[in-house]
């Protein structure tokens, strides 16, 4: 859709300033673009390349390696059903089939109203709460076909808006601009030998 907004450019510059080398900010900036638009557009990648003094191809090269960056629009809610070993043992595959049938889309598809995208995912570190589902990366443990129906209804009715922000929003806590920032990452200042208590 779009380049980063003025507000996000400001935030991007602040993020870049936290790293000794600017390219380290690439993944955080791709997340920022995805938060703004719900996906990562070509325009956004070109803009990020400008901000980091990279080529657009370098930005695409990194973006295309990582599962979370969606280079085409996805639904407002990205439903990730885990079918890896612990979830498989407790019905993850059947749950995925159920969600696909219920939403009327194949795995990897998006509902015509743009509300839901469905994905089969690898282990999401919720193995003791299997079978696990993430919606926009928010966890829903021990999901049954019945509770999945309820979950989809609640999401569609907006009843989970406080728990599940739109796709792309990860942390709702903004990194602070610390007043006590040491800023020594580039200098490599070692600790004075013999301890530091004054």
């Amino acid at each position: 859709m779009a380049r980063l907004s003025a507000e996000n450019v400001e935030l991007a510059r602040e993020i870049i300033g936290r790293y000794p080398r600017s390219r380290s900010a690439l993944i955080p900036l791709l997340h920022l673009a995805q938060e703004q638009d719900g996906w990562v557009s070509e325009e956004a990648m070109v803009h990020i390349a400008e901000l980091l003094d990279l080529t657009p191809a370098e930005v695409l090269g990194t973006a295309s390696f990582y599962e979370m960056f969606k280079r085409e629009p996805v639904g407002r809610y990205l439903l990730n059903v885990c079918t890896n070993i612990s979830c498989l043992l407790l019905g993850g595959e059947e749950l995925l089939e159920h969600c696909s049938a219920r939403l009327g889309v194949p795995v990897g598809g998006t509902t015509p109203d743009g509300l839901f995208s469905l994905e089969e995912v690898e282990c999401v570190a919720a193995c003791t709460e299997a079978p696990a589902v993430q919606v926009n990366y928010r966890y829903f443990p021990e999901v049954t076909p019945e509770s999945a129906d309820q979950l989809l209804d609640d999401l569609a009715a907006g009843r989970l808006d406080e728990v599940v922000p739109p796709h792309g929003t990860l942390s709702r806590v903004r990194p602070p601009t610390p007043t006590r920032w040491a800023g020594r990452g580039r200098e490599g200042l070692a600790i004075p030998p013999g301890g530091v208590r004054p």
């Binding site: 919720a126 007043t179 530091v196």
Partner: protein, 460 residues
Amino acid sequence: MTVSDVAPIVSARRDDPAALTIDGYLASGGYEGLRAALARTPAEVLDEVKAAQLLGRGGAGFPAGQKWGFLPPGKTPYYLVVNGDESEPGTCKDRVLLERDPHQLVEGVLICAYAIGAAQAFIYIRGEMPLAHERVLTAVAEAYERGLAGRNIDGTDFSVDVVVHWGAGAYIVGEETALIESLEGRRGMPRLKPPYFPAAIGLYQQPTVVNNVETLSNLPWILRHGAAAFTALGTEKAHGTRLFAISGHVRRPGVYEVEYGTTTFRDVIYDERYAGGLGDGRELKAFIPGGASAPWLFPEHLDLPLDPSVVGPAGSMLGSGAIVVMDDTTDVVKAALRLVRFYAHESCGKCTPCREGTTWLATILSRIVRGGGKADDLELMLDVADNISPPPFPRAGWADRGIEPIAFPYRRTTICDLGPSVVSPLRSAIERFRPEFDAYLALALDPARTGVPVEVNRGR
């Protein structure tokens, strides 16, 4: 049955929401470990951690203090990178620490940064864990506000910045050199070895220590109570405690902290204080002892202690502390296929044996499960596996058949361990449960047959 009752070290605050705030954390002894560290020289802190013989809790189990000691003197800046990219199937213990006791990790990061003289620390958190990210970010911000991070920490000349970094979905980034590539804004592909440790050449080509979340979360306790108290727990080679995630066909799946090396698989799988055993009338078929990459173990191995120096020679590994239990309803062919598909999906593509091998294994095993297998497919798969990990491949011994164990680790034709890891579930399942594979192969030869041996358990 012996189950140890030692007080938890890293999960003591997991059920205390007050510990999420710095005041609650301080009230429970928080940042005392950091203050104890700052009262000594960095070299003394390093010696303390070396004396504690703290083994890395990420998977490889390398001693943390020794890893720090590899940093070449004078080649500053040094960096500290925290590996919070927990993605090994079956593993969910770092998530507990990140979400439930973020200050403990931040304190551990600061202690390590002080000991090694790091110019900056980066906490790399898996992208799919926004709650963990929010909690750790909040903890870091609070630490800055209270003068416990950033410039002149706790009124000393020690200064270090802590940056919380995002992952974006790639299992391979858990490999420490791939993690560094990712932190540099690149595709997360492992670097060529040698150097074997990023302590020689790491982030921005500078000496770098990469440690796991649980490893660093042990440091506040070690600095508060001393290395001697730590080594008093556990066995001669495995000290302290360790988190184990027990999942699959058990009554009470969960993340449990147990004394290292003294507890057995039988304890944590069957004892009421832990996973509480299998479902009614169900029997154990196999279990994965240390994450998806570990060769499988079987009922006759239940009395092995959770001690890497025992489990390694016995033919597997404790890896990332993930025990996955499969009962007698498990279709091990489908279970193996799911894990093989995982490695095929997550192979970064850098090494040919892994990129091609995992993909072909997934293709061949898929056709077997669909009923289209060919007579020599099992031999074909084992041949592909040998090209990724030259034999002999580690495996558990079967005393009743006179088969000796082959000790861990595996050999490899690849840069990292992802490739050989695909062989673990495949070989384990084929060697132990060959008749089940043969039954699938028979389907292809006689399509009218429907007799696939067992169905995947569909309920609890």
